[in-house]
């Protein structure tokens, strides 16, 4: 995970967020990914979303596994803690981190190889636990660091750079997340910053596991004709089903909207989402129909994007465990050790 230090220049005219920080405070090192990589656009969206949201950088834990996507935490939020784990195992580290410190903002970045092949089990189980984190999959259908093998998200019939055709059906993390009870399921495109930034904010504010699958073209190995993860293909077939506006807690909802037209969703931290249907035939509140819609559109070659499903009512890992509010790593030892008298009393049963 190489990165090049970026000189920090703060112009007096730069806007400041609720913490008094500028966008520069949310940047990271210079990217060493290929010029034009979709991942760099996602990095920029993360920087903007975190800045606008006003999350304290040192309260964020940037989690990743192995792969091009997993390198990117070095390129944003340099004031945050980073954890670059082993291949496919970031969700378990994130689970432990959340168990120990429920106040952390967990921001996971993974790829289609990391999440859908070697780490499919951990990814699904983190979702099943409704772990409180934003989990971004930077999905390009290909292994970059090992030079161009198909990944598990490659579409049937997609061609690699050498012209070979993929003959295995893809694993779609969005459909899987819907089927497994995911409480925040979204898809976007790295080139659509306008859509991506509110989705990142919403995902961070959601209590529970927020899956954000982002089609993120690989300019070196998967941006050619015949690829279904190329810039050209993504632009042409991006079907924005839902438009999401993110309204922070301190802001009032200004724009007037007709009920039935827009669905407002309140998140646990007081922020609100305004979800507006772009595709008339999409029913946002229905998990089963969402899956069916995705399958139908996918057969037609379209990539459905937007916040496709949200359920704020489900307990996260700590809700299900009834863990105390104080993060466990801050509970004083005196409240954890039962003491010598209890030990003496307990041992009566062993006599």
């Amino acid at each position: 995970m190489t990165s090049i230090a970026k000189p920090k220049i703060v112009h007096s005219g730069l806007a400041r967020n609720v913490l008094g920080l500028t966008v520069r405070d949310y940047e990271g090192g210079m990217s060493t990914l290929c010029a034009g990589c979709g991942h760099d656009s996602i990095t920029a969206s993360i920087v903007q979303a975190c800045f606008e949201l006003g999350v304290p950088p040192h309260g964020v834990a940037k989690m990743s596994g192995i792969g091009c996507s997993s390198k990117t935490p070095a390129y944003f939020l340099s004031a945050s803690h980073g954890f670059n784990s082993v291949h496919g195992r970031m969700p378990s580290i994130a689970t432990g981190a959340s168990a120990a410190n429920r106040d952390l903002y967990l921001l996971g970045v993974s790829g289609d190889g990391d999440s859908l092949s070697i780490g499919l089990g951990q990814f699904m189980h983190a979702l099943r636990r409704n772990l409180d984190m934003l989990y971004i999959i930077e999905n390009n259908g290909v292994y970059g660091l090992t030079k161009g093998q198909f990944s598990a998200s490659a579409d049937l019939g997609a061609k690699n750079k050498r012209g070979e055709e993929n003959r295995q059906p893809p694993i779609d993390p969005v459909q899987m997340a819907l089927a497994l009870g995911g409480t925040f399921v979204a898809r976007s495109f790295s080139g659509d910053k306008e859509q991506l930034v509110p989705l990142i904010k919403a995902g961070i504010s959601h209590r529970g596991f927020a899956l954000l699958d982002v089609v993120s073209p690989c300019v070196t190995f998967n941006d050619h004709e015949g690829s279904t993860k190329s810039y050209e293909h993504a632009r042409e077939f991006n079907l924005r089903a839902i438009h999401t506006d993110f309204v922070p807690p301190e802001e009032e909802i200004m724009a007037a909207y007709d009920e039935g037209d827009v669905l407002p969703v309140e998140l646990h931290d007081g922020s609100r989402l305004l979800l507006r249907k772009l595709a008339n035939d999409y029913d946002i509140g229905n998990r089963g129909e969402a899956i069916e819609y995705l399958r139908t559109r996918h057969r037609a070659g379209e990539i459905v994007t937007g916040l496709l499903y949200i359920d704020e009512s489900q307990p996260d890992l700590h809700g299900a465990n009834s863990t105390i509010e104080t993060p466990l790593n801050q509970v004083p030892y005196e409240q954890l050790c039962p003491g010598p008298e209890s030990l003496a009393a307990l041992q009566k049963r062993y006599r």
Binding site: A99, A100, T323, L328, Y333, G339, R351
Partner: protein
């Protein structure tokens, strides 16, 4: 009738052969506890199948006035409750011993053995006559043999009655049926046989200040007292009861009675790969966290163990060893994971291991493991085994020092970070090879990027040879520091000067203890070094150097402890003799007696 044995009081072995799933465990525990409360040292070994119902299971109780806790190697009284295994159970009884069987179904031919006493008690018939419910009949057969034993062995009936009362305090109906079954067996034995037998018990005062506890329960209690808050695991025999017990203790001590809020979090992971990941994620955030596992789980955890070694994260593992290789025999015991644990993972990795010898040390070393893991910022693996973990051992009462506070190691606080100009994760500030660390969310200056890829002393990514080697060499220095911090070995000197030494770890201890006493009576002497940790400290190497010949006693085929001694000390392997016991049953002293006896006869330099 066989020739009556000479009277043997408080020194014999009782073995109960049964079918698993018939509820014999509570009856066997009742016998053990009765003997224990009568003040007589006792130990129990459970030989059970990897199965839920219907397969043979045995429970072996050794009653030893001298306090020997290992198996004796022979059986004096067999309670043969399983028709499937009658033949072999009959064979196992030592000459002059006793076999008790359910004479509801006469087995004259099968039971023919002129050199032992055969006692038939119609357990099933009596219970069928007394109890209507089918399940009750099966369960009460077990209580009926306890009743018969009470008469035959002269067990204190008041003690039995008290124990039964305690067990069924909240279930009066069960108290009544169990008491009735006990009486059935007792009365029948009194009416039909000369009671008590020459093999019998007599009240002593040798168990005061002791408890009967299994190692997994004790280890779990150690985790509670050490202040562990996050437990992650994947169920695997024989480690499972650690997390079961941890949960039960936490429900008792760490749950707010009003709100139901918990001051702990247990995650049942999808597999062991995730279990160790959860532990590392939690300890990265400064919570004490642990995972119990066994061999197959340890194999799965190796990638993350190397990661934790290199990124310097604390972690506590309990490896309750079972028989390998592969799935092996999940309900049998071994010390077969020593090498796999010591060098788990690719590249140059080494891990701190602790070796408890009994449940009491499982409790104590659990606490030590957390302190060491945080002090050294590295995984610590407590190497228990099935014998320690799942059997009830008599050991000294657990005690707790109220002044104990966890050693959190070199963790910088917000104030320290505020005062510091800079923070670098992997610099050797103190010269002991242990760097300083920070926790996420504490202070902006503490942020760093943790990575398993090559990094320099500042925590930055590197592919530079010199920078990489600097970090790796410091880790070696930290390893040398670890050797000074881990628990010292326990050394037992022989009464006569000797050039022979025995080296062993863990549960082999009780067999060695007994062997040394018996050998001394034959004029064969050896010193004994019970290694309690890896890396080996100075005292271990000194012990080796003080002896011309060292017998390395261990419970595996490939002499793994000897291999570690060869790899990590300068002591010549030609002067080490292996004594290996690896069939899967807890060790008894015979293999040690034999090896040292032969060596003495052969005139091996002593």
């Amino acid at each position: 009738m066989a020739k009556q044995q000479k009277s043997r009081v408080n020194d014999f072995v009782l073995k109960i052969a049964n079918v698993n799933g018939t509820g014999s465990a509570s009856a066997n525990a009742l016998i053990m506890k009765t003997v224990f409360r009568m003040g007589i040292p006792v130990t129990g070994k459970n030989f059970f199948p990897s199965n839920i119902q219907g397969l043979p299971t045995w429970y072996e109780i050794r009653i030893s006035k001298d306090g020997y806790l290992a198996r004796s190697g022979s059986v004096d009284i067999m309670i043969a409750m399983n028709a499937q295994t009658y033949t072999r159970d009959l064979q196992e009884v030592a000459p002059g011993g006793v076999l008790i069987y359910d004479s509801t179904w006469p087995r004259d031919r099968l039971l023919a053995r002129p050199d032992i006493t055969i006692i038939g008690v119609p357990l099933a018939r009596m219970c069928n006559e007394q109890f209507a419910n089918v399940r009750t009949r099966v369960l009460m057969k077990n209580m009926a043999y306890v009743g018969a034993l009470a008469a035959l062995l002269d067990l204190d009936r008041a003690v039995i009655a008290k124990l039964v009362e305690e067990t069924f305090a909240k279930k009066p109906a069960l108290l009544e049926s169990n008491t009735k079954a006990l009486d059935l067996g007792y009365d029948y034995a009194r009416a039909n046989f000369e009671c008590p037998l020459p093999l019998r018990v007599k009240t002593l005062n040798k168990t005061a200040g002791h408890i009967m506890i299994d190692g997994n329960t004790a280890a779990a209690l150690g985790c509670v007292y050490a202040g562990a808050t996050v437990g992650a695991w994947y169920p695997i025999t024989p480690s499972t009861s650690i997390m079961d017990a941890f949960k039960a203790f936490c429900e008792r001590y760490r749950k707010d009675p009003k709100t139901g809020e918990r001051r702990y979090c247990i995650v049942q992971a999808e597999d062991e790969l995730a279990a160790i990941g959860i532990v590392l994620g939690a300890s990265w955030n400064g919570a004490r966290s642990f995972t119990p596992t066994s061999g197959p789980g340890l194999s799965l955890m190796t990638e993350f163990l190397g990661f934790a070694y290199f990124t310097e994260l604390p972690a506590v593992l309990f490896d309750v060893q079972r028989v390998g290789p592969s799935t092996g025999m999940p309900t049998r015991t071994q010390q077969g994971d020593l090498l796999a644990a010591a060098y788990a993972s690719h590249g140059d990795t080494k891990h701190v291991l602790l070796f408890p010898r009994d449940p009491r040390e499982c409790f104590e070393l659990a606490v030590t493991a957390f302190d060491l893991a945080e002090r050294l910022q590295t995984p610590v693996i407590v190497m228990s085994d099935l014998d320690i973990g799942m059997n009830d051992w008599m050991c000294k009462e657990l005690t707790w020092d109220a002044t104990y506070r966890p050693d959190r190691g070199k963790v910088l606080s917000a104030a320290e970070l505020e005062a510091a100009k800079t923070f670098h994760r992997y610099t050797d500030v103190d010269g002991d090879g242990i760097p300083y660390r920070t926790l996420p969310g504490v202070h902006p200056r503490g942020s760093y990027f943790l990575r398993g890829s090559g990094h320099n002393q500042y925590g930055g990514y590197t592919e530079d040879s010199a920078e990489y080697q600097q970090v790796l060499d410091r880790l070696a220095k930290k390893w040398r520091t670890a050797a000074t911090l881990v628990p010292q070995p326990e050394i037992r000197r022989s009464r006569q000067p000797t050039k022979w030494g025995i080296v062993a770890v863990g549960s082999s201890d009780s067999a060695i203890d007994e062997a040394l006493d018996l050998l001394a009576k034959q004029g064969v002497y050896a010193d004994y070094c019970r290694v309690r940790a890896f890396p080996f400290g100075k005292k271990v190497t000194q012990f080796l150097e003080q002896h011309e010949r060292v017998f390395v006693v261990e419970q595996n085929r490939d002499a793994q402890l000897k291999t570690l001694l060869m790899a990590e000390t300068q002591y010549p392997s030609s002067r080490m003799t292996s004594i290996l016991h690896y069939g899967g049953l807890p060790m008894d002293c015979r293999c040690i007696l034999e090896a040292l006896g032969q060596a003495a006869a052969a005139g091996v330099a002593a």
